[in-house]
Symmetry: C2
Subunit: 354 residues, 2 copies
C-alpha cells in the first residue's frame, strides 16, 4: 500500500546491557526517513541504517527553530510480543504541531506504517528487562539552506529509536517540584500546545534554577497572570483534592499529553470524579492548608506517573501525602503499565501488537 | 594573541552578480568555527572552507531548539575599505542570549578577532554595488547526541557570510504592517529578548496570516495583555507622535536591536525628543485619530529603516504620512547608511575598518 524502501545495515551495532541504558544515549540500527520538497510534497519514504545527517550551515533548523517532534514507546509484552501504545495519537499531535509551526502535515497512515516496519526491523532492540522499553523519537526539521525568515521549502521527517532503562529502578520515588515564578514556558497564542524545540529551550533556565535548589522539575504557571497552573517540564500535572482529581484544561498553552488523556479515561472508567479546568496555584495552596490536597502527580510517556512528594512555592514547602505515592497514583501506574506490558487486558483498544 | 588556524579553500566559488543576490542565498568561501566540550570549554578556533555540518540524528539542536544567533553586516566604503558596524555589540548580545538559553558564553574578543580574520580572508565577497553588503551570521547550536532534556554538553559556534543585494532597489518604499491579535511572539519571562530560533519559529504563523492578507510584516503585541506594542517581525518599531519619537522600552520580551540603539543616539544627537516607554496600540490609534501620528518606522540590520505606510488593526487601516517616507525616517536612513558606507564621518565611534 505504501512504498517504503528498506536498506538493511551490514554493520549491526552491539546492543547495550539493560543496566547501562539510561535514557536517550543509545540508538538502534535503523531509522525511518521521509523528505519534503516544495512542489513535490513528502516523498521517498525509506528505512536506512542509522546514520548522521549532513546539512548546509545555512539550513534553517540551525537558525529559526522550525521543528517539531514526538515521543512514544515500544514495549515487549509478557507473551514476548512487540507492542505500541496509541501511536496514531502521536502522529495526530505531530500534525497539530506542524500546523502551528507552518510545517506541511504528514500522511499519518504512512508514518504509522513506517514506524511499524521500523520497529519490526529493529525488533531485537526492544529491551525486555522489567520496566525497560524502546523510546521512539519521530521529528521534523527544516532543511532549506536559506537565511530568509519564512517557512522552509524543504524538510526531513525522521524516526530514531533508543532503548531505555527502567524509570523506577528502586520503586516509585515521589519527586520534589518547584513552582517557577520568574520565567515563563509558554503563553496563550504562543507555541505551548505544540511539541516544538523552542518550548524546551525556553524551559532550560527554570529547570537549571530548580536543579540548583535540589528540585527535580519545574511547575510552570501561565504566562499571562502567573497564577494558573500549566504543566511540569515534560509532564502534565494532576491534583487530587478532597476526592476529586483535577488537571488543568487544555487551554492552548500546555501540551495535550497522551498519557494525560489515557489517565482521564482510566479514572472515568473506575468511577473516580475528575475535572479538567483552570486551577490556580492559590487553590492548591489553600487545599494544602486545609488538609484536602491528597495527591499530586505528573503524567508523561517517560515515567507514566511521577508522584510529587514536595511542592515548593514562594519559599514555602508543601509535603504531599507524607512524601509517599498515593492510592490513585499507584492504581493509575499499575493500570497503564499493565496494559503496556500486556499483563492487563486492553479494554480501551489502545495497543497495537506487531 | 588568539590562536586561529586558517585552512584556505582550494576550490573558490564563483561570486554571483550583484543583481541576483537577494538575501541569504549565497555564501562566501570560508567560515569560522569554534567548538565547545564540557570540561574543556570553547576550543579549536579555526577558519575553514565553507562546508556542510554533519551531526548525529540525536544531536540536541534537532530536538530541543537550544540555539542562538546574530546578524550584522560588512560594507565596502566609498574609499574601498571593508567596514564593520558595531560588531562588538552583536557578540555582547549573543552572550546575553547564551545566558538565557543556558549556553556557555563565548570570549567576545576571540569572536571579534575571528570575524575580522574571516572578513579579511573573504574580503572579495563584500559586494560593492550601491546598497549591497555582506550579511554576517554568527550562530551557536547544541550538538550533543542525547535525547535527555538538559543543556547540551557540546556546542558549535559558527560564522557564515552571505553577500546580499540592496534592500531598496527602487527607492525606499513604505511597507504595510498588520497588528497580530491572536498569536503571540513572546511574553515577559520567556525568550523574547534573546535571539534564539524558537522566537522566529513561533512568529511564522502570524507572518503567514499577514502575508496572505497582503501585509509585509506582523506587529506583535505583548503576550500578557495583548495591548502594549512590542516589535515587528525582525525590526524594532518607532512612532513619531506630535514631534516626539516613541519606541517601546526594553521590557524583557523584545529584542534590544542594535539599529534601535543607534537610532536613539542619532536622534538625541540631532536634538529630536525621544522616549523609550510602554506604548499601547490604543495610544497609537488615538494619535492617528487626532492627527498626531506623524511617522511610523521599523529599524533593523537588514533594512536599516523601513517606513510604515499602512498599519492595520482590528480591521481598520491607518494610512501614515500619506503612505510616504517621513522626514525623520529619511534623516535616520541617510545618517546611518552614510556612516556605514563611509560617506559621513563616524562621530560615534561605531565603525571598524579592516
Ligand atoms: C511539555 C510536556 N508536557 C507533557 C508531556 C506528556 O505528554 P505525553 O503523555 O504524550 O508523553 C510531555 C511529554 O512528553 C511534554 O514534553
Ligand atoms: C525580532 C527582532 N527584532 C529586532 C531586530 C533588529 O535588531 P538589529 O537592529 O540589531 O538588527 C531584529 C533583527 O535583526 C529581530 O530579529
Amino acid at each position: 500500500m505504501f512504498d517504503i524502501k528498506t536498506e538493511l545495515t551490514t554493520n549491526p551495532k552491539e546492543k547495550p546491557a539493560s543496566e547501562v541504558l539510561g535514557f536517550g544515549h543509545y540508538f538502534s540500527d535503523h531509522m525511518f526517513v521521509l523528505d519534503y520538497t516544495e512542489g513535490i510534497g513528502w516523498h521517498d519514504a525509506r528505512i536506512v541504517p542509522y546514520q548522521p545527517i549532513t546539512l548546509d550551515p545555512s539550513a534553517m533548523i540551525f537558525h529559526y527553530g522550525q521543528s517539531v517532534f514526538e515521543g512514544l514507546k515500544a514495549y515487549v509484552t509478557v507473551d514476548k510480543q512487540a507492542l505500541l501504545f496509541r501511536p496514531e495519537q502521536n502522529f495526530r499531535r505531530l500534525n497539530r504541531s506542524n500546523e502551528r509551526l507552518c510545517i506541511p502535515t504528514i500522511d499519518e497512515e504512512l508514518a504509522l506504517e513506517g514506524l511499524k516496519q521500523l520497529v519490526s526491523v529493529d525488533r531485537e532492540w526492544i529491551p525486555s528487562a522489567p520496566g525497560t522499553s524502546l523510546y521512539i523519537r519521530p521529528f521534523i526539521i527544516a532543511t532549506e539552506p536559506n537565511l530568509g525568515v519564512h517557512p522552509s521549502k524543504k524538510y526531513q521527517f525522521i524516526i530514531i529509536m533508543s532503548p531505555s532503562g527502567s524509570y523506577y529502578k528502586e520503586g516509585i520515588n515521589p519527586v520534589k517540584i518547584m513552582v517557577e515564578e520568574q520565567f515563563v514556558r509558554a503563553v496563550k497564542g504562543g507555541t505551548g500546545e505544540a511539541k516544538t524545540g523552542g518550548n524546551y529551550a525556553s524551559a532550560l533556565k527554570g529547570q537549571e534554577i530548580a536543579s540548583r535548589e535540589g528540585y527535580a522539575q519545574t511547575l510552570w504557571l501561565d504566562g499571562k497572570g502567573n497564577k494558573n497552573i500549566e504543566e511540569v517540564g515534560s509532564m502534565n500535572i494532576f491534583f487530587k483534592i478532597n476526592g476529586t482529581v483535577v488537571t488543568p484544561a487544555l487551554n492552548g498553552s500546555i501540551l495535550p499529553g497522551i498519557t494525560r488523556d489515557s489517565m482521564l479515561h482510566v479514572l472515568k472508567s473506575k468511577g473516580v470524579p475528575v475535572e479538567e479546568r483552570n486551577i490556580s496555584i492559590d487553590e492548591v495552596v489553600e487545599a494544602y492548608n486545609n488538609g484536602t490536597l491528597e495527591e499530586v502527580f505528573g503524567t508523561g510517556t517517560a515515567a507514566v506517573i511521577s508522584p510529587v512528594g514536595e511542592l515548593k512555592y514562594l519559599g514555602d514547602k508543601m509535603i504531599i501525602n507524607e512524601g509517599k505515592i498515593g492510592e490513585i497514583s499507584q492504581m493509575l501506574y499499575e493500570t497503564l503499565t499493565g496494559i503496556q506490558y500486556g499483563f492487563i487486558e486492553d479494554t480501551f483498544g489502545w495497543t497495537i501488537r506487531l
